[in-house]
Subunit: 741 residues, 2 copies
């Protein structure tokens, strides 16, 4: 599956490399010794284009009916080029059709590849689509700064440091935004951390960035959904005990939507994002109005619920220590997740892409910074207490600020909660397009299973979507949907990816020395340093709280990527083809195991005799009476194929046969051994229990013999009422009728 | 696998039916149109007898080395007839060899079929071998009569009825023995209930008898082992809590012994059986000596433990009722199980078989009757109390009688317990030869899966042994190894089988009217009536206690047998062979799905081209760029096989291909469609996850198309270190390289 929409191009336009041409010519020469395969020669008419259909006329005569391709479900594009219409792709069985119908209702009808279109976004829409992840971080970021103190039992001390910490985070935000401005210009086709790091630092750093991002996308979903449901349970405390099921329901809905193929449509995203911005700024404004109007002074909002510094007894400053402050800083940095989305999505902008993207990035940075500062400062002045998330009925910080601004249960309050929930869901949804796309890039470069390259029926990367949904659900269940327990795992991946990406940019500028590279390299160097520092701080102060998990997962992922790559490389480089690649050199010897001389054996023998004039029938048995009887029947039949009896006194079937094949192979080392196996195709599942699975086991063994070809000649039970239904469902079960023991 | 040892017989000795000959001749005529398959023609020398081995000499010349068959592990018996020695049957891989060695240590080396010998037994040995099941019943039968009263809370009343009930059981024993004397004479080749009922009453009664016997064999194992371990825990009360694990260990040991192939060797059986007889009669004699000598009078054995009628308060006679008495009678009839063994085993006797068998049967009946009467009368006179099996540390009745006779912990006591345990284990062991043999008969008549016909490496019916072991273990676990809870399920099957068998004999005498048929028919009629009455009493009075389970299981088994029979009949009668049975009529059309024009595709194309000159390569893709490129390469190669491109805009692979095959099939309805599939054989389990399993799914679908042949052309990863090891273990995994999507 190519990433770009396919374009019709004649074979004339294709340029083949010289060595490719000479290799193909050489292969072709070996084939010139045999005539070309027939397509249309009198009686044996065969029309691969399905233009006509053979019909019986008078005896001995044949008519050709022309122009029936439509009925086959194919349409002509050129000679030797058919297009399968949706009819040819439609299921045929009753059960398959029902399943198809259910899927269509749930996910919509399958879409052809050519429907894969990319919307170009204006700056206004782009801000909505690409920044939901970043902007939604304000729902949990500021709260996490204070939660660290609360959990350490030093909640009141948070008011001594919150503004300082926010100031530091502001500087990090500034450096990240300025740094990504450089990336956008350098990668107008989209500069995700994986691509930038791989391009400039090499494969290993690229894979590290990819692994970091992947863990991070999973956490984005878990954190955003958990936080969204936390907002909801703040507004409706009765739902608290349903938090985890609600989270899982939300994940399922998002997975369903993405499997259906929700495109990143600007219109769908614009409304909730801008509603959220309006809600936030209105809330912050009203909170400051309360302060200015004196309705709610520092620590004096006792009339409002959940407000005022009523933390447990204050502790001494000494016991807080630099470690706690760094922890609060690290947690707060989770507010900066999602900024990289704009630089990933540059190609989606209207031209000039890079300039529009830059403007949007700056705009997003300013909005994010303003909201963060507004919330932290308002919280500080109002002295809003942050609840211990492990307490009974904890309230989200935003819910408290909204209560102060508009009053609990008012329209304004619900507007804040509702729009926050929505933007958090959209943020999770962003991961559902980024994670499968990253897996697609990895699969394209042979670092992930090729199944992730495959576009689903609705043109979404269904496999990646499904995997992300499962992983996020597992995380939510393990952590009980508690945002503050997920945060220590989060952000570390983001900042690792940031660092890799910015470092990659520094190397790039240094190597290329493009115009104005000096300015760019300074910005990127500052960005790389800042994010690296945050990454190290994070890894150290959060290590015991959960960061160690990520420190194990990321290298494991990298090792996995590399093992997968090695395998695919082996498939390309080290494939052995022991069978001659030209029919002129292929000399087949057929071995046919038979249990009895009946129609089943005869059809296999006929197949073998058609392929080759070197055929041996082998009968493996331990009963001399049976052997004598078969010999007599063989003689009456006419002994048209030599029969070899392998008496097996130890009643083993497979091993003597394999030894016999080895012996024949030694005699005729140049020839290709072909084993013809009659196979009973069972039509009910329990039939498989009634036959020894010898043919199946033998096939498994034979496939490992280099250069051994296996031919399955099937036979069925006539009139079995289930044949048709099962045939459609593809529930084949192999059986055998080769073993006389 | 034939039951009788195979005898060498020339093909001249085989008589074929006329219709068989004419059918074979007709099939042969169709083959005469093509030359006979070559065996030995100059350059293409092929020697199916492996007499020689082709070796390269000077270029262009070939030598033939003669006389190497030994090295291949085969020995000549006749032209076209090789015998696989143990070398040809030996495993080749390291892992397989290790497994072989472990098995040989545990179960012994594999035995050839010709080692299947049958020992002929003298009457003395036959009594030991065939009567262990019946004689061992005295270990639980007499006890069960009284247990019914104890469980109903009317233990003391047992002393009013025990002798009457024993008298009734004595009459049943007499009629069963007399009845089986007739069967032995009529069936000198062995008259199991299944065979007798099937012969004389028809298939359905035969199957009912078989189902009844099968449930019964399972219960024999469970009851005998549970009872044996009960004797053991009576002697060693510390083992009570280990009863179930001890039972399971005993079952495992017996299964192991039988898989190893313990033959019913007279010598092994004689010692424990005669030891048990000695122990029982000595114990009964000593018990009566105690009574006569006045050491222990009726109810006056207070100095001995567990003796004396200290049951809970006696209840009124009215509350006992006829129902309780019938229940006690039914439970006591479990003492009669195993009597049929002698009539099953007639062929094992020395000549004159039937007369010796009759003598042995009568002898066994007398011994069994004497022991039963002795135990019941001694119990009655001594007033031995029977323990509630649900109480703490219950003691077996035999243990109490042995205590009275020899004193608890004395040498005589342990001799009784030990010999009882041994004979119970032997009784269980009898079921392990009867159950698999019955399954073999059923499988031979196509009523059971054919796997049960198969002789294992050690000439035992391993599959049947294994199934019996599992079923008995399940029963023991479910019923907690409690004999008295198993008894309600037991014996009902025995008496149903008795009834079927005796009724069959009545019908046989009536039909045949052989000499002295009048006497025989009377004995069998009485036997049939008596056992039928016991069966009905049993079914009624034990219904709620567990007999209902058996009343469901037996008809279910019969239904299963018949369904299995129907399937095997279908395989014989309704097999469809859509592919011509003569090469003169077989016209193949090959379809080769290709993803790319590389060596893998070329070897499949070469294979197809060798088979037929009608070959089409099909490329399924949704990427027009890729299509154009393939076409260009195809042209350079020389277009030796027509290439058909199926563009699949819905990215479906299997369905358009199946539709295309359908269309080609319509064009050439007389011809055989052959699909040639290149298959990557994965060498590590996780490789299977890295490739779409398209080839595998496609094969499953294609096998259901009538008359469609599938050819697997494998290719491997070169130098993969695991190939050799995995090849030996047969861990093949199919993959694909046919899908370009």
């Amino acid at each position: 599956m190519s990433e770009t929409p396919p374009e019709l191009s004649g074979s004339a336009a294709v340029q083949l490399a010289d060595d490719e041409v000479s290799a193909l010519r050489q292969a072709g020469e070996a084939w010139s010794l045999v005539p070309r395969a027939r397509v249309q020669t009198g009686r044996d008419f065969i029309d691969p284009d399905l233009d006509g259909r053979e019909e019986r006329g008078r005896p001995g005569e044949r008519y050709l009916r022309v122009g029936r391709p439509k009925t086959q479900g194919f349409e002509h594009k050129a000679p030797g080029w058919l297009e399968a219409t949706s009819r040819a792709t439609a299921p045929t069985g009753d059960f398959a059709r029902l399943r198809r119908r259910v899927r269509s209702v749930l996910l919509g009808a399958p879409l052809p590849t050519r429907d894969l279109i990319h919307e170009r976004l204006s700056k206004v829409k782009a801000l909505a689509v690409l920044s939901s992840d970043a902007l939604s971080s304000v729902a949990y970021g500021p709260e996490q700064i204070v939660v660290v103190f609360v959990l350490a039992g030093a909640g009141a001390l948070a008011f001594n440091y919150d503004l300082i910490i926010m100031g530091l985070i502001g500087w990090v935000l500034l450096s990240v935004v300025l740094s990504y401005r450089q990336t956008i210009k350098a990668y107008p086709k989209g500069g995700g951390s994986y691509i930038v790091a791989k391009d400039n630092l090499g494969t290993l750093p690229g894979l590290i960035a990819a692994a970091a991002l992947m863990t991070d996308y999973v956490l984005t979903v878990a954190v955003s959904i958990s936080s969204g449901i936390f907002q909801l349970t703040s507004a409706f405390p009765g739902l608290v005990s349903w938090a985890v099921p609600l989270c899982l329901l939300a994940v399922m809905l998002i997975v369903g939507g993405n499997l259906r193929g929700i495109r990143e449509s600007g219109s769908i995203f614009a409304a909730p994002t801008y509603a959220f911005l309006v809600a936030m700024f209105a809330m912050i404004a009203f909170d400051f109005y309360r302060i200015v109007s004196g309705q709610c002074d520092h620590g004096a909002c006792a009339t409002l619920p959940h407000v005022g510094p009523n933390y447990p007894a204050t502790q001494a400053l000494a016991s807080v220590g630099i470690f706690l402050i760094l922890q609060a800083f690290a947690s707060g940095c989770s507010a900066l997740t999602g900024i990289e989305a704009v630089s990933d999505g540059v190609p989606a902008f209207k031209a000039p892409e890079w300039r529009n993207a830059r403007t949007t990035l700056v705009c997003m940075g300013v909005l994010l910074g303003a909201m963060l500062f507004g919330i932290v400062v308002a919280t500080h002045i109002l002295g809003v207490r942050v609840d211990n998330p492990n307490g009974t009925n904890p309230q989200a910080l935003l819910s408290k600020l909204a209560t102060i601004a508009f009053g609990f249960g008012s329209l304004g309050y619900y507007f804040v909660i509702g729009s926050t929930l929505l933007i958090l869901v959209l943020a999770a949804n962003t991961a559902f397009s980024d994670f499968p796309r990253l897996l697609f890039f990895l699969a394209r470069d042979n670092f992930a299973p090729h199944q992730f390259r495959r576009l689903g029926e609705r043109l979404a990367f269904s496999n990646g979507i499904f995997v992300l949904g499962v992983l996020a659900s597992v995380l939510i269940i393990v952590f009980g949907g508690d945002t503050s327990r997920l945060i220590p795992l989060y952000a570390i991946g983001v900042f690792l990816a940031f660092t890799m990406s910015q470092t990659g940019m520094v190397v790039r500028w240094w190597r290329r020395k493009e115009p104005s590279w000096r300015t760019s390299i300074i910005f990127n160097a500052i960005g790389a340093t800042m994010t690296a520092v945050v990454f190290i701080v994070f890894a150290v102060v959060k290590f015991l709280e959960g960061a160690w998990v990520v420190c194990i997962i990321i290298p494991s992922f990298v090792a996995l990527f590399m093992a997968i790559h090695r395998h695919y490389q082996e498939v390309v480089d080290h494939v052995t083809t022991e069978i001659p690649t030209s029919p002129a050199r292929l000399k087949p010897v057929c071995i046919v195991p038979v249990a009895e001389l009946n129609d089943v054996a005869l059809q296999s023998l006929a197949m073998a005799r058609t392929i080759s004039d070197s055929v041996i029938a082998v009968h493996i048995c331990d009963d001399e009476e049976h052997i004598a009887r078969l010999r007599a029947r063989w003689d009456v039949w006419g002994n048209h194929v030599p029969l070899e009896v392998l008496e097996s006194p130890y009643r083993s079937f497979t091993r003597p046969l394999l030894r016999y094949i080895d012996a024949i192979d030694k005699q005729r080392s140049d020839d290709t051994i072909i084993i013809v196996l009659p196979e009973l195709v069972a039509t009910r599942w329990w039939h498989a229990l009634l036959h020894n699975q010898t043919a199946l086991r033998l096939k498994a063994q034979l496939l490992f013999r280099p250069g051994t070809v296996v031919i399955s000649v099937p036979y069925h039970l006539q009139h079995a009422p289930h044949v048709r239904r099962l045939r459609r469902r593809g529930e084949a079960r192999d059986n055998d009728d080769i073993e006389a023991i």
